[in-house]
């Protein structure tokens, strides 16, 4: 019995290894959200830049297709993604809405002042409640939402030119074609 306790670290470690083996087979960036092809969760939040107005799920359904980008000023990867969002805004192919997630208003506004604002409108989710409804677990994330309010795709991690050209742009064209 006294000897058995020296085996405890080994068994704990083996359990950890088993966990990693499972973890390795799942790519945290690619696993689809359970919300894909489901209606987008409903919410209504104050606008970040103008707290007198609100932003709700309905606002995402004004165009055939919209991007909904989740970001925060404390998120370093968001900063990396940001120039590409500015580029997307310049191209003007699709409106970019966003959810400012678990952030402080002055921080978020300062961030936009410093790096530029690519967003058409920004929902301010200070407590992160809406983020949880949307299944946000790593920031940045970007959802593609169509006019019916259905989430068609979710990109986890920064948007890149490659992901845009290979996955998102074809999807957007498909959604537009569906609307005909």
């Amino acid at each position: 019995m006294t000897k058995a306790r020296f085996l405890i670290p080994l068994f704990l470690f083996l359990a950890l290894i088993a966990l990693f083996v499972v973890g390795l087979q799942r790519d945290p960036r690619e696993v689809p959200s359970p919300l894909i092809d489901k209606p987008a969760p409903q919410f209504s939040l104050p606008e970040l830049l103008d707290s007198n107005t609100t932003f709700s799920t309905a606002d995402l359904q004004k165009q055939p297709v919209s991007l909904f980008n989740v970001w925060a000023s404390w998120c370093v990867a968001c900063r990396q993604e940001h120039p590409f969002l500015m580029e997307l805004k310049r191209r003007g192919e699709v409106p970019i809405y966003s959810l400012n997630y678990k952030d402080k208003r002055p921080d978020a506004m300062a961030w936009l002042n410093r790096f530029g604002n690519p967003y058409t409108a920004i929902a301010f989710d200070e407590k992160g409640r809406v983020g949880i409804d949307w299944g946000v677990y790593g920031v940045p994330e970007t959802f593609v939402v169509d006019r019916k309010g259905i989430i068609r795709y979710k990109q986890i991690g920064p948007l890149t030119e490659q992901a845009w050209q290979e996955t998102i742009l074809p999807l957007i064209e498909k959604i537009r074609a569906e609307e005909g």
Binding site: K3, C75, P106, A110
Partner: protein, 660 residues
């Protein structure tokens, strides 16, 4: 041609490492002197080959040889020479080559400074290090080879990530890796001692300086990384509880526990199997960190290129190294006898408290880091764990740790009396409570509970350290004589402990009393922050070797007297088209003035962010104190003397008798 030679040298180094891992190990088990003696020359040869390999890769960078894929991906002909050299470890492949090189360096150093250790001990230590080196070199050779070629060679390279074009990041990875790999020495000593059945005070004494040196490097590496994040990422944060940061912090916490546990093992011959386990844990966490960073199982702000084959390889390596060492532990550790016993109130108990708190802190941070992965693997959903969790669990553990950190050095080994300690520390208790309130109030005019706690425990710690110094010098004929008669190890400990207080003050004051202003400024505008008047002079164009920049100039005055002129830049790096902000910082011991420039807002206006950050330098200053204390302790005379001692000391003799 040269890169092929580099590749060849690397493969040769791998085979030598294999021989270094196998031959001396068998030699030590079977007692074959020739095989035992093989360890040192093998370690040296391996190191020389790795130096050649690394040197050739560096040459490829310096000479802009873009036919080497790794160079083409991480450098550019316009990149300044300094960054071309640091770009060698700017990417995945090169940073692993650096890891392997440093590992070889540690092996060679152990070979050099172990002349007076028993030969079979040296053989086992170097063999264990050789086996670990085989794994990592194979990782480089088979999955991450930096010498692969591009045909045809591109005209120019893709440039180094602009975030890495910085002095802080030139020094950060080598320091961190020196620390990571350094713990392999403590690990190898532990495994060698387990295998040889020599888990005695002598083993603890040999391990101590190596462990301290590794810890010093890790401390400096973490401090550098945090300092870099502060000035380069641009919003004044210095720690983010990111998985990659945690990966370096976990071995640091365990390493700190190990240093203290080794002290008990050496002085009192107890805690031995616990110490061995800590040595295994510390290095395992270094490997785990590498796995987490390189495999991409966790999403991290550091966003390293990740690759599933690499993940599988590191996992395999982690499984073999840690699994084997824990199996050896389970097999050999039950035979270890703890010699000393101690009373509830004794220095052993305080050090045990230190160990328990540090290990619990490690476990909670590890849990927080792995929790998203655990839930995902069990299909319970996906979540992220952020700073609120880490702050909520870490801070309450550190407060009691610092309180006992003050008492520990004052207490006696084996048994102490409560009245004695209480008498010594009564005044410290009162002074720390009073100053805990008075200092923040005098400096900042307002008092916050967390700041009072932080100030009080820091004052407590400083007071206790000074009391300890005074106490130990009191019996000498003069105070000065007393001071000079104390060994370096004592001063090392005291200075490192003071460093903890310095860092705590820095964290508390800068977190609670920083001032921030974000505003639109047109040239000529001015604003007062923290008693300083910031005057926006205007912007001008400027350009560097591989970027163009818009530079904002802000003059700072205080009561009409000029203080400094700050320059903040928005840079665009021409090759990667990546915008970067360079903050303008006026650093000071008691405050930093920090300005960063944002987007142009039209009509000549710019978004400007101004910070006043009191005592922020103290965070890293404390780190320097800790590192300096570590260097003093590791260079203590007795580690050099002990090497000369041939007759085993009491504890050694006892264990030797048990064995025979």
């Amino acid at each position: 041609m040269l890169p092929e030679i580099g590749n060849f040298a690397l493969i040769l180094a791998m085979t030598i490492a294999l021989a270094q891992g196998v031959v001396p190990m068998i030699g030590a088990a079977r007692n074959i002197p020739g095989w035992i003696a093989f360890a040192r020359p093998a370690a040296w040869t391996q190191f020389v080959l790795l130096v050649i390999s690394f040197g050739i890769l560096t040459h490829a960078f310096v000479s802009n040889d873009f036919s080497v894929a790794y160079v083409a991906n991480n450098s550019n002909s316009a990149l300044p020479l300094m960054y071309r050299i640091s770009a060698v470890w700017g990417g995945h492949e090169g940073s692993l080559l650096l890891w392997v090189l440093l590992m070889g360096g540690w092996s060679a150093t152990v070979g050099l400074f172990s002349k007076r250790l028993p030969p079979e001990m040296v053989a086992r230590v170097l063999a264990v290090m050789g086996l670990v080196a085989v794994g990592f070199t194979a990782f480089v050779v088979f999955t991450s080879n930096p010498f692969e070629r591009y045909y045809p060679a591109p005209m120019d390279g893709r440039d180094l990530n602009p975030l890495l074009q910085d002095i802080g990041l030139i020094m950060h990875p080598p320091m961190l890796y020196m620390g990571y790999v350094g713990f392999s020495v403590a690990f190898a000593f532990a495994i060698a001692a387990l295998l040889g059945g020599r888990l005695d005070a002598a083993w603890a004494r040999w391990s101590r300086p190596w462990t301290i040196v590794a810890w010093v490097f890790l401390t400096l590496g973490i401090a550098l990384g945090s300092w870099w994040a502060y000035y380069e990422l641009g919003w004044g944060g210095w720690w983010f509880w990111d998985p990659v940061e945690n990966a370096s912090f976990l071995p640091w916490l365990t390493g700190t526990a190990l240093m203290h546990s080794l002290a008990v093992s050496e002085k009192r011959s107890t805690f031995k199997s616990w110490t061995v386990l800590l040595a295994i844990f510390a290095f395992s966490l270094c490997l785990l960190g590498t796995f987490l960073v390189r495999s991409g199982v966790l999403t991290s702000v550091h966003a390293f290129a990740s690759d599933p084959t690499r993940g599988v390889f590191v996992l395999l390596l982690l499984g073999i190294v840690v699994g084997a060492s824990l199996a050896i532990y389970a097999w050999r550790a039950p035979q270890v006898k703890s010699a000393g016993n101690f009373a509830l109130l004794s220095r052993e108990t305080f050090l045990l408290g230190n160990n328990v708190l540090l290990v619990v802190a490690t476990a909670t941070i590890l849990l927080g880091t792995l929790y998203p992965l655990i839930l995902d693997a069990l299909e319970l959903g996906k979540i992220s764990v952020g700073p609120p969790y880490f702050n909520a669990v870490f801070v309450p553990l550190m407060i009691p740790l610092i309180v006992i950190l003050g008492i520990g050095p004052l207490s006696r080994w084996k048994q102490d009396e409560f009245p004695r300690l209480a008498r010594m520390l009564r005044s410290a208790f009162l002074v720390s409570i009073v100053l805990g309130v008075v200092i923040p109030w005098l400096l900042f005019g307002k008092v916050e509970l967390m700041v009072v706690i932080a100030t009080a425990i820091s004052v407590w710690l400083v007071y206790a350290v000074l009391l300890d110094v005074a106490h130990r010098c009191r019996h000498k004929s003069s105070f000065w004589k007393g001071l000079t008669s104390r060994p370096r190890g004592f001063y090392g400990m005291s200075i490192a402990h003071l460093g903890v207080a310095v860092t705590v003050i820095g964290i508390a004051f800068s977190s609670y009393y920083s001032l921030e202003k974000d505003l639109r400024m047109v040239p000529g505008d001015q604003l007062e922050v923290g008693g300083y008047l910031f005057h926006f002079d205007g912007v001008r164009e400027s350009h560097g070797p591989n970027y163009t920049a818009t530079e904002g100039v802000i003059t700072v005055t205080r009561n009409g007297k000029p203080v400094t002129t700050l320059h903040t830049q928005k840079r665009t790096y021409t090759v990667q088209q990546m915008p970067m902000t360079e903050a303008g910082i006026d650093a000071g011991l008691f405050r930093d003035l920090y300005v960063a420039m944002g987007e142009p807002l039209g009509d000549g206006g710019w978004a400007i962010r101004i910070y006043y950050k009191p005592f922020i330098r103290w965070i890293w200053l404390g780190g320097l104190f800790m590192a300096f204390g570590g260097i003093l302790a590791a260079s203590d005379r007795r580690y050099r003397l002990m090497a000369k001692r041939t007759a085993p000391s009491g504890a050694d003799a006892r264990l030797a008798a048990q064995e025979s």
